[in-house]
């Protein structure tokens, strides 16, 4: 009982939510990572015959394009295992990155208030309806998109869709609810100020992006949060939550006809087109090669490192994806894991990942180690960065990486919600409706030469930007740490 401890934490999964005291069992139990499986062949003996790298398509999952009578499109995966229906949806260009200057946190605050009363139902009435029908409805803002999720038992589906419609089209923004939610978000911001992980990530983005929207905290700052009015939120809903920006994934025991009806009911009332809005400008990443240190009295420093990366649509994306897996991407087999953790025991967690943002994509990573070891850990990271830059990966590493990345993919299709999110992501990134079938070949065509090229282009140990929060030894700051007000 009470708290699990596992071999390795996923990056970003060890957040202490709101710094509450109790950690009941279950809260820390997040042993699964991002992905899973599929491959040919019979089961094989230990260490033998692992030569098959071509995964067949994920036949089990068939994606159907559904267009409602009213013209709302969704991608559907039918699943008759359980009598539930799950929707995931996103509105493009409606995330925190598109918040007006001085109003950072608008998308997030609005997201937090859509289910706090709508139509004739005040907050308690609305929440009561959701709870009593066991409907799971949530909204959230990322940097680029505004997201929603709905999960319901089929027997309550009509009511669920009605509540979703109300939330999207008739949110109330009652003063009482606005004040309550705003103060909860403020508390969260204050807590982050002294959380080493949050502080490191704020400094990281500020250093890289300066005042560009990509560097903005999606939850806002105390000053900008205070500046957001109810009118701002009403305007946000009318101008950002529009059908031309909407992407939907649906999974569950529902047929195309019923889904069409549902889509019109839920989303038909949204404005068809968004008014013209200023484009977010391209981001120019700065701070190349600088080391930033933020003093915090903790025994273990939190370190972030990285540099510019690739967009999802870049032709070299898959090469970078495979390269990153070998460098620090997954599981217990990456180079960073082996060198920094396995051989020397310097860290519990060390990783790298691609962050393929539209404006200012990065390849970055992180680790945490006691203050005395920060210098050593960082030299090892630089050495791996350099090694990859200079010599790429071996044929054997390439083979293993492909086997993992293809084999593990179906593991991501773990639940209706997970599949629905993948359907949204496929549409957001224009991957095509047959992507699940094509994905393996996209990975399999990556060659060592591709990886050499990408590594040379992306990885430069001399211009690695580094942020350290703690009291690190043997590391010198090379630039003044940017101010990050909360």
């Amino acid at each position: 009982m009470i708290a699990f401890f596992q071999k390795k934490n996923l990056p970003g999964q060890n957040q202490n939510l709101l710094g509450r005291i109790q950690t009941p069992s279950g809260q820390n139990y997040r042993p699964f990572w991002r992905q899973i499986v599929l491959s040919l062949g019979l089961s094989m003996g230990l260490g033998l015959g692992m030569s098959l790298s071509i995964a067949p398509p994920v036949q089990a999952v068939e994606v159907e394009r559904v267009v409602s009578p009213g013209g709302v499109e969704a991608w559907l995966v039918r699943d008759k295992n359980i009598p539930i229906t799950t929707l995931a949806f996103s509105f493009r260009n409606a995330g925190g990155g598109a918040d007006p200057t001085g109003k950072a946190g608008l998308a997030n605050l609005t997201a937090s208030l859509l289910d706090e009363g709508a139509g004739d139902l005040n907050s308690q009435a609305f929440q009561g309806r959701l709870e009593n029908l066991a409907i799971r409805l949530s909204f959230g803002a990322g940097l680029e998109t505004f997201r929603g999720n709905l999960k319901t038992l089929n027997r309550n589906r009509d009511e669920a869709v009605d509540l979703l419609r109300l939330a999207l089209t008739k949110p109330r923004f009652d003063d009482d609810a606005v004040q309550r939610i705003r103060s909860q978000i403020e508390i969260g911001l204050k807590q982050r100020e002294t959380n080493p992980d949050s502080r490191a990530s704020r400094i990281w983005r500020k250093a890289l992006f300066g005042d560009h929207p990509s560097g903005r905290p999606v939850n806002g700052k105390l000053s900008t949060l205070a500046a957001i009015t109810t009118d701002d939120m009403r305007q946000f809903v009318l101008s950002r939550l529009t059908r031309d920006r909407l992407i939907i994934g649906a999974v569950g025991d529902i047929n195309a006809v019923d889904l069409g009806t549902l889509l019109d009911k839920a989303f038909g009332g949204l404005p068809a087109v968004a008014p013209k809005q200023p484009q977010v400008p391209a981001a120019k990443l700065s701070a190349a090669g600088d080391v930033f240190i933020s003093d915090m009295d903790i025994p273990q420093s939190v370190v972030l490192f990285g540099q510019p990366g690739l967009q999802r649509s870049d032709p070299d994306y898959y090469a970078a994806y495979v390269m990153n897996y070998v460098l620090g991407g997954g599981g217990f087999a990456s180079r960073l894991y082996t060198e920094v953790r396995e051989k020397r025991g310097l860290v519990y967690s060390v990783y790298s990942y691609l962050n393929p943002m539209r404006k200012g994509p990065q390849i970055s990573g992180g680790l945490a180690t006691r203050n005395e070891q920060v210098g050593e850990a960082l030299s090892l990271v630089r050495a791996e960065w350099k090694k990859m830059h200079e010599t790429g990966i071996s044929a054997d590493e390439l083979r293993r990486a492909k086997q993992f990345l293809n084999g593990a993919f179906p593991l991501r299709l773990s639940s209706t919600a997970a599949i629905a999110r993948i359907l949204v992501s496929m549409q957001y990134n224009a991957l095509g409706i047959d992507y699940l079938d094509r994905r393996a070949s996209l990975i399999n065509t990556v060659t060592r030469a591709d990886i050499d090229r990408v590594a040379k282009q992306l990885l430069n140990p001399d211009t690695l930007t580094i942020v350290v929060v703690g009291r690190p030894k043997n590391v010198k700051a090379t630039a003044e740490t940017p101010d990050i007000d909360y």
Partner: protein, 460 residues
């Protein structure tokens, strides 16, 4: 983030699924079980290893888990952190696998893996394509008894664990307070000692401690195999017999029957820290669990938790946060899922400008009201509905059933307990809950924890 109410709601679900399966007080009559949850197939190997299979054919993948009925609470005195340290070492090589090779095999077969340690049990799992299941079973069975530990591998891993302890606890005031509170809560039971261990004891664990622990507890008769995904028991049986069935059973050490003496004094544990920005208050009462104390209270307490804390309209959030506006967050938690004595807890964090005294008064008033007036029929019905719905949602992921069943069986519950959970919850009455509340809260002692900001010293 920043939505405390949302988190409270999520926790309700976690409890209902992860930790809420109580011991069935009523024996299951054959044929009576209707509202089954996972419909697992089970059998037991000749060596005593229990096998559970849950089919879900949505995607051709499986989660393969082996749970050992040994956790941090089984460590010898002075050896805290042993169970968890050992868990890490299970990846360090056997008679046939080099250190790290296990993980390499899992990865190159497109698998994901991890392991976890709790007070009550330790688990290892891989998720893989169903056609790689046999290979996973082969290597998992191999490390059940053929681990080859050396000084060379345990040294660096100890450092990894000390870093893990720093990340989780030493860097985090709330977690530090949790550790201190557990120690005040349990006067005698080993739950008072943190799973990850005290730093000085982790530093002192030896190869011989680790090897002895392994030889004593890692045996098929102390393990449960749980597989969920695109397989049936017919698929699994021959493989389970081939790989796990051949490992001989061995007598297990006697387990200490830990009992808690009554908590006679209220305790107040305060941690003021410079990095705390938001004060937090919590209060814990001793409570029975599925395997400790009065089992008949378990289901009523689960329904009560839902009434007090199951979302934005629950009693605590509604009164303290929405109506009285004295708290930014408020709720309760109860985890019945334990071999030893459990806790029924309340928490609240003050609204801006408020303090912990006022939320403490607010929560106490709710407890008093509960004891004076009880719960209503409508509250009970609605809570039961929500909890029962959560058991349908639990079937959604192919991984969740393995986790829930494994955790239940590992503490000594039965498949029938899990399968009859919706029915048992459905049978809870107003009177049951009022009686349970009285038993746990009325004139009972508790441990109160305060996490407070501390002004930064001037010299910087």
């Amino acid at each position: 983030m920043g939505r405390t109410r949302k988190i409270a709601a999520t926790l309700g679900v976690v409890f209902a699924l992860g930790g809420a399966f109580g011991l069935s007080p009523i024996p299951n009559t054959p044929g009576a079980a209707r509202a089954a949850v996972f419909n697992p197939e089970t059998f037991t190997l000749k060596n005593g290893m229990q096998v559970v299979v849950v089919s879900n054919h949505r995607v051709p993948v499986v989660t393969h888990m082996v749970w050992y009925k040994v956790g941090a609470m089984d460590e010898p005195p002075g050896k805290s952190g042993l169970a968890h340290y050992f868990e890490h070492l299970m990846f360090k090589g056997t008679d046939t696998l080099k250190p790290g090779e296990f993980s390499k095999i899992v990865a190159e077969n497109g698998g994901r893996e991890n392991a976890f340690t709790s007070q009550d049990y330790t688990g290892y799992f891989q998720s893989v394509a169903v056609d790689r299941l046999e290979l996973m079973m082969e290597i998992e069975a191999n490390r059940m008894t053929k681990l080859a530990l050396t000084q060379d591998v345990i040294g660096p891993e100890r450092q990894v664990i000390l870093e893990e302890r720093s990340s989780r606890t030493d860097n985090n005031p709330a977690a530090q307070l949790s550790e201190q509170v557990a120690n005040a809560m349990y006067l005698n039971h080993p739950y008072r000692v943190p799973i990850i261990g005290w730093k000085h004891e982790i530093e002192g664990l030896t190869l011989s401690d680790l090897t002895k622990f392994y030889r004593q507890w890692y045996r098929p008769n102390n393990a449960i195999l749980v597989i969920s995904g695109a397989v049936t028991a017919d698929d699994v049986r021959p493989l389970a017999e081939k790989y796990y069935g051949v490992i001989p059973a061995k007598p297990l050490p006697a387990r200490i029957e830990w009992k808690e003496p009554p908590l006679l004094a209220d305790r107040r544990i305060t941690l003021a820290h410079e990095r705390v920005r938001q004060p937090a208050w919590s209060r814990r009462f001793p409570a029975p669990s599925a395997k400790y104390g009065d089992h008949s209270l378990v289901y009523p307490l689960q329904v009560l938790t839902e009434i007090l804390s199951g979302g934005a309209t629950s009693r605590l959030y509604k009164t303290l946060v929405v109506e009285d506006k004295i708290a930014a967050s408020a709720g309760a938690w109860y985890d019945s899922h334990a071999r030893g004595p459990s806790i029924f807890g309340f928490y609240a964090s003050p609204a801006p400008g408020g303090d912990t005294d006022s939320v403490e008064r607010g929560v106490n008033a709710q407890i008093d009201k509960l004891l004076a007036d009880g719960v209503t029929q409508q509250e009970v019905e609605q809570a039961i509905n929500r909890l029962q719905a959560s058991s349908i949602y639990a079937r959604d992921s192919y991984r969740t059933p393995a986790r829930i069943l494994g955790a239940a069986l590992a503490i000594g519950m039965t498949v029938a307990d899990v399968e009859s959970w919706p029915e048992q919850i459905g049978a809870v009455t107003v009177a049951d809950i009022n009686k349970a509340a009285e038993a746990v809260f009325k004139d009972r002692r508790s441990v109160t924890a305060l996490l407070l900001p501390k002004p930064k010293p001037e010299n910087k």
